[in-house]
């Protein structure tokens, strides 16, 4: 039984067909990545899953027909998207951003405090900056905040859109360590990355998206060894 199953997903921006009939299956507890070059349709796919874009196709998540849920109903059912570009609320403090992550839970003050401490334990940098406006954080700190905020909602399925984008390697390393430890506690992951090497070394399985279509899918080892993948997606990072 898969936690997320996508059948024949189509997404268009007007006349532009950005995603053209893809299928995805992710079992609970899995770490799966979706790799592809710039403009392949990765972000579009995640936004469609989060119901931020109108889409066609069958989307099933944890026993729900996603097409029948409003976008604001997903957080409470454990589906969290950390969007491309982080999307922190720049004019809210770090703490307020985290509390926005518990919005859908409507939990008590005590529970909220416990959640905040749990995230601070995982991302100590945020604790130091709790009262600072999120807009004043560095890019890496904002990415940490975006992930921490998603974790505040106790997600079952975490959708991450290019968490490594624009970050120094050391920061990427830290963030991927956090992602790994979160998934080891049972959170299912769908990771979107242009950095294929990074993504495939974290995930057990990967899909290759090109031009709105899934062109390959295999376990990470096989994809890393695939000459076509090597030439197109792994070579790209040497350049």
């Amino acid at each position: 039984m898969s936690l997320l199953s996508v059948r024949n997903l189509h997404v268009a921006y007007g006349a532009i067909q950005a995603v053209r009939g893809i299928n995805l299956d992710i079992a609970a507890g899995e770490r799966v990545c979706l790799i592809g070059s710039n403009g392949a349709g990765k972000t579009t796919t995640l936004k469609a899953l989060a119901r931020l874009l109108p889409a066609q196709g069958e989307l099933h998540y944890d026993g729900h027909d996603l097409q029948r849920l409003p976008a604001h109903g997903l957080a409470k059912r454990g589906l969290a998207l950390v969007p491309e570009g982080r999307g922190v609320f720049a004019r809210l403090t770090v703490l307020e951003n985290l509390l926005m992550g518990t919005y859908s839970r409507n939990s008590s003050k005590g529970e909220q405090e416990a959640d905040v401490q749990r995230v601070f334990g995982l991302l100590p940098r945020l604790a130091e900056r709790a009262q600072q406006l999120a807009g004043t954080l560095s890019g890496g700190e904002q990415q940490m905040l975006a992930i921490g905020r998603a974790l505040m909602s106790h997600p079952k399925l975490l959708l991450l859109d290019e968490p490594s984008m624009g970050l120094a390697p050391i920061m990427v390393q830290k963030i991927f360590d956090v992602i790994r430890s979160v998934t080891e506690q049972g959170v299912t992951l769908l990771l979107v990355e242009q950095n294929a090497h990074l993504a495939l070394s974290l995930c057990s399985r990967g899909y290759v998206l090109s031009n709105g279509c899934i062109t390959m899918q295999d376990d990470s080892k096989a994809l890393l060894a695939n000459p076509q993948v090597q030439a197109t997606y792994l070579g790209m990072h040497m350049a």
Binding site: R20, G21, L53, G87, R91, M100, Y103, R149
Partner: protein, 368 residues
């Protein structure tokens, strides 16, 4: 079945993102942190200069000057309450709700009817006033909800002119409707207090005026707490900044927007009751000028900024009272206080020319 184009693996760099990413990008905004203190200090200095020199320059008496300050504070409290309605909606939607003045007028009219009904049926005055105010606020909340639902929501993604035209339409409908119901004559608003005004340092202030200032201050304080300290307030600020991300957090942004309209309308209704009580009059066209002036106050303070609306409202009230009080002296009797409405619009024009972001607004408007 997914059918890729002829070459399944494209060279990655062929794909360029569009220049204007639109909904595709979720931008990271780095706002100018508005330093309240830095902004307020020059303001206070300016105000002090005006306060010290204006009475001397015109050789007027201190009591007249104080009287204008009292009048200005009363007027300013009312402008501030109405300005908050404009600024909250603008902050959330980037939309100027030009029908807001009419909501204020409806509030006054509803209150007038309830008070008259109550007095005719022998209710004690305080009860009549309380019920009148409460029903005005409730009616206006319903009206605010309706205006958003019918007048603005269907146009949320339309070109910017469309909601403006919609607002004008709503204003006309509301004015005409109120004229049909309450008639086109000026309606006397019963006196809520019968006591003599207090005389302080030669300036007189009525119980009603004290009540208006205190109630407005308390209401605005409550609003600030709501916005800064509560879960709903956080959702409101999050929605104002980025509705798509707020939705991801589980915020029903349509509900937040509807509730914000209702909140602004309730404040407007309260202001409407205050205006009518203070000037002892209500009229179907009273919302127009009041709305424009409160809008001016919101722009003066920096539209979209709640504290700005309060500061702008009070400042505009003081400017208007002082200028109309002294214009006759200053111009050697050429212009009288009947020019009072001119000053608000002079302020609006000057602000739009020299500081379009207002006193407390951020330098660059982030949401057009």
């Amino acid at each position: 079945m997914c059918r890729p184009y002829a070459t399944p693996l494209h060279p990655p760099l062929l794909y360029q993102k569009p220049d204007k990413p639109g909904i595709n990008a979720l931008p990271v905004k780095r706002p100018n942190v508005v330093k309240l203190r830095e902004q307020l200090i020059p303001l206070i200095i300016d105000l002090a200069v005006v306060l010290v020199f204006l009475p001397n320059a015109t050789n007027s008496r201190m009591d007249i000057f104080l009287q204008q300050i009292v009048n200005g504070l009363v007027l300013g409290s009312i402008y501030a309450l109405v300005a908050l309605g404009y600024t909250m909606v603008y902050g959330l939607l980037g939309l100027i709700n030009f029908a807001h003045g009419e909501v204020v007028m409806v509030g006054a009219m509803v209150a007038l009817s309830v008070i008259n009904f109550g007095l005719a049926n022998g209710w004690p005055l305080p009860l009549a006033v309380l019920l009148a105010t409460a029903s005005a606020m409730l009616c206006c909340m319903a009206l605010g909800w309706l205006i958003e639902r019918v007048g603005y929501r269907p146009l949320r993604h339309a070109p910017r002119l469309a909601p403006l035209i919609s607002a004008i339409g709503i204003s006309i409908i509301l004015q005409q409707l109120m004229m049909l119901i309450w008639g086109s004559t000026y309606r006397p608003f019963p006196a809520l207090f019968n006591s003599e005004p207090h005389v302080v340092l030669g300036a007189s202030i009525t119980d009603l005026q004290i009540l208006i200032i205190v109630l407005a201050a308390a209401t605005m304080g409550g609003l600030m707490l709501l916005v800064q300290r509560t879960r709903f307030g956080r959702a409101m600020r999050a929605t104002a900044e980025n509705p798509a991300i707020a939705t991801l957090m589980g915020v029903n942004t349509n509900r937040v927007i509807a509730l914000t309209f209702m909140l602004g309308s309730a404040l407007g209704a309260l202001a409407g009751v205050m205006v009518s009580a203070n000037y002892a009059i209500a009229h179907f066209s009273m919302g127009f000028m009041l709305g424009l002036k409160a809008f001016t106050a919101a722009v003066l303070g920096g539209i979209g900024n709640l504290a700005g609306a309060v500061v702008g409202g009070l400042l505009l009230g003081l400017i208007e009272a002082l200028c109309s009080g002294y214009i006759s002296d200053l111009t050697g009797g050429m212009f009288g206080s009947n020019y009072r409405d001119v000053f608000a619009f002079l302020v609006l024009i000057l602000v739009l020319i020299f500081r379009p972001s207002g006193l407390m607004g951020e330098k660059v408007a982030e949401r057009a």
